[in-house]
Symmetry: C3
């Protein structure tokens, strides 16, 4: 009886530990390295917290060399390149979350995503582009990464970046 | 005296009952039938709840036959057709709310709408298009349907849908 | 000892008073006069409050004579004129806040801004345009004016206005 109890407790602790490590562990497993986010060079900030909600500023597809993926999907970029750009943007947001919260494990839920794709007028697959962002969020946070979302096509974005995405995140108290 | 008191109580109960039935009753009166919303076919969901707020994913003007109203307002579509498309989008959101909450009567307030119109460059009447969405919300929810709103013109939308609209809704505890 | 205590208390009260007067005082110092905001002429409202959050409807660059700055940045308007248009839009939002709250001093934090610039396809400086909005918010509210932000380029806006901006504001209880 005592053994069963200990086994039960151990299982509880282990599963809790696994859960707690999830996001950070998954990030490492994927070999994604987060560098401190660039600060905005104007009168705004990367994130504002109100209660348990964290509002993140729109970010673009910044690469490891600090340059951005630029151009319009449907003209300079293929759908696949757009998807990769959206994935890079997700990594930028993860870096902001890490910087704001200390650990990605403090993320409770990815709540709402507005995915804006720099594209041609006849491009119709904005959702498939923004999937690059959504897929990474679910790879890192599991079901807690599933969010409400809009994906739309833009006429012009800053510095001609391929996508700009903003997000609202629920964090643990 | 006792009669007056009973009358008073009855009136209170009746008005409370009417209020409680309002949204669902109005929906029926209008002959609007809600079908279960289509699930997103990617790593996102129709709605995420945080506290009393429900964030709904952007939806388009899906018709009863599961096809969408497509085209640009100002070119393939008239203002009136755009208005109808926005109204259809509101019905899609009502279906999501019904599915999430069980009853539309649990809606406390339509809080914030972002209405995006697929249109020509010289089209200037986005607000009149998005009125198709706002009007239906007020027809169903009364004053609780009045929301903060932005209405803007888009270069391209998924599958060339005529409008995409997202909304934040306050729900009862 | 008693004197030091009184001095301490006086300093506390004085600094609290200064803080409390800040936004309204700064507004006056700048000679900005707020006129009551125009009501939306449709089924929506200027602002909806949920808890401590105030969601403001998208506004445009309305001038003192009630006409709007119109045209596309990069064609009819220069970057500087776009900046001024964004600043005018901030003043419109201040007028809404004043009308809703009675005093700008009840603003706790400017939380999240979505800045949409009516621009040409090759325009890349949307952030510098929306700085006109962000700068004024920080001039009026200090650090509490610093917000999360997205700045993007639009194909078309209502009445061909130069910018449309929406904002979420945290208010004091």
């Amino acid at each position: 009886m005592k053994k069963i109890f200990l086994l039960f407790i151990s299982t509880l602790l282990l599963s809790a530990a696994l859960r707690a490590q999830d996001a950070e562990t998954r990030l490492k497993t994927k070999g994604i390295v987060l560098t401190p986010p660039s600060g905005p060079i104007a009168n705004y900030v990367n994130a504002v917290r109100v209660g348990n909600l964290l509002y993140l500023s729109g970010k673009g597809p910044m690469k490891a060399d600090n340059t951005n993926v630029t151009g319009k999907v449907g003209r300079e970029l293929t759908l696949e390149q757009g998807y990769e750009a959206a994935r890079l943007t997700a990594i930028c947001h993860l870096a902001v979350l890490k910087s704001e919260l200390g650990s990605l494990n403090k993320v409770k839920r990815i709540v709402k995503v507005l995915g804006m794709v720099n594209c041609t007028e006849d491009f119709k697959d904005q959702p498939k582009v923004i999937n690059g962002y959504s897929d990474l969020m679910v790879e890192i946070f599991g079901d807690a990464g599933k969010h409400a979302r809009s994906a739309v096509g833009m006429y012009a974005l800053p510095m001609n970046i391929a996508v700009e995405i903003e997000v609202i995140v629920e964090v643990q108290e």
